[in-house]
Amino acid sequence: MTPTTSPLLSSQNLSKRFGPRWLFRELSFELHTGECLIIQGRNGSGKSTLLRLLAGLDRPTDGTVQLGFDDYRTELSLCALEQATFPNLTVLEHLEIAATMRGMQEWTPENSIELIHKVGLQDHTKHASQHLSSGLRSRLKIALAIQPRPKILIWDEPGVALDESGRLLIESVVKEQKERGALVIATNDASETRFGTHLLNLDEGSK
């Protein structure tokens, strides 16, 4: 990893235990601009849990996660399978709320429309999220995650529920993200592991 700059994300001896069972133990790594960490592992190995720890949504049993920036609202994004949207709110409303809450004062409705086009939701701008298919909801989550142009993008199983154009979207998002920051992707899909600059396999020796 590039030692000359301070890391955007680093973890030291990160461990997580549920009851008597350790999901993973003493994971340490650093992520710098341009890097992409791929997390692999069988079902139940703790991939999603690790992502939640890195995003600050859960607390580790042991160890620390450090971010190389102050404002998690704009510098860190999580795009997760299990994360739900608000069922009664439209695609556009989600983006407006997120922009306000993130304190993005320069964000305009035109920016929202542009982003909606980018993720391929232009025909669903005013549709409530409960009326979107799972693939379209994934696109909404991608839009929400890349909206602030974060330094770290944490992505759980990017390709799930997405069609061929969705896969192209993933590719372009990964490319852009590597230019401005770093990524952590949890996946076992070979078409996604190729984005990685580093690999972490949770099946290997962390129990």
């Binding site: 609202r73 999580l78 009664n88 964000w107």
Partner: protein, 228 residues
């Protein structure tokens, strides 16, 4: 993009959460329907059982606060509990500050509770033909009492949301506090309706003090458990 931390930004964020709650509620109508249903049914039943007799102020105030507490317990905690249940709470955790979320939801719950209280007050006074001897104490007590209930239930909902058995935890947190608020409310309302109770005239002031305490404590406690 630069981020703002000014007072106007706090206001914007709080109002955005309020607007989100209003939009969701106005489209689903679950809370409003439940509140209206509870208010209406309670008023009809009370009216029927007291048709041939005059209700004593203390009993009337007891029934009044009992109905309000039920409305609050059933409708208000949902703003936090439901989002946690359908996993949309993580949306807030990733994009928002805990204090904004707490205050936005609290504001919405207070508004909802004030409307329910207004409806219940008018209904009780008209249907039970209650003589309000001290309208100022009655109005002040009801107003701040509603806010106190809304604050308590919102805080309990917020604290209980991450728990596995969140509805039980919410009840366990809110009941002791609500018993205190309801006792205070009953004293004030009974006093306003003509029953002499010691400290009745000071009940609205005690309610204000409670609201200030809960209002100051709420966001601080919530931000501690925000990401856990």
């Amino acid at each position: 993009m630069k981020t703002l931390t000014s007072l106007s930004q706090w206001k914007k964020e709080i109002l955005e959460v309020f607007r989100k709650e209003w939009r969701s509620e106005s489209r689903a109508l679950s809370g409003i329907t439940t509140t209206a249903q509870l208010c209406f049914v309670s008023l009809v039943i009370i009216n029927n059982i007291t048709w041939f007799s005059n209700v004593k102020p203390l009993l009337a105030s007891g029934l009044y606060w009992l109905i309000l507490i039920f409305i609050a317990s059933i409708t208000l905690p949902r703003t936090f509990l439901q989002e946690e249940e359908n996993r949309s709470a993580d949306f807030w955790r990733m994009v928002a500050r805990p204090e904004s979320v707490f205050w936005g939801k609290c504001l919405f719950n207070c508004a909802q509770m004030l409307v329910a209280t207004l409806f219940m007050s008018l209904g009780m006074i008209l249907m039970l033909r209650l003589p309000v001897g001290n309208p100022l104490v009655f109005a002040g007590n009801s107003f701040f009492g509603s806010i106190a209930i809304a604050l308590t239930v919102t805080l309990a909902g917020a604290l209980a949301a991450p728990a596995q058995n969140r509805y039980t935890v919410c009840a366990a947190i809110s009941v002791p506090l609500l018993v205190f608020v309801v006792n205070l409310g009953m004293t004030g309302t009974a006093f306003a309706l003509g029953e002499f109770l010691r400290g009745g005239e000071r009940a609205p002031i005690a309610m204000i003090a409670y609201c200030l305490g809960a209002g100051a404590l709420g966001p601080v406690v919530y931000s501690r458990i925000w990401k856990s």
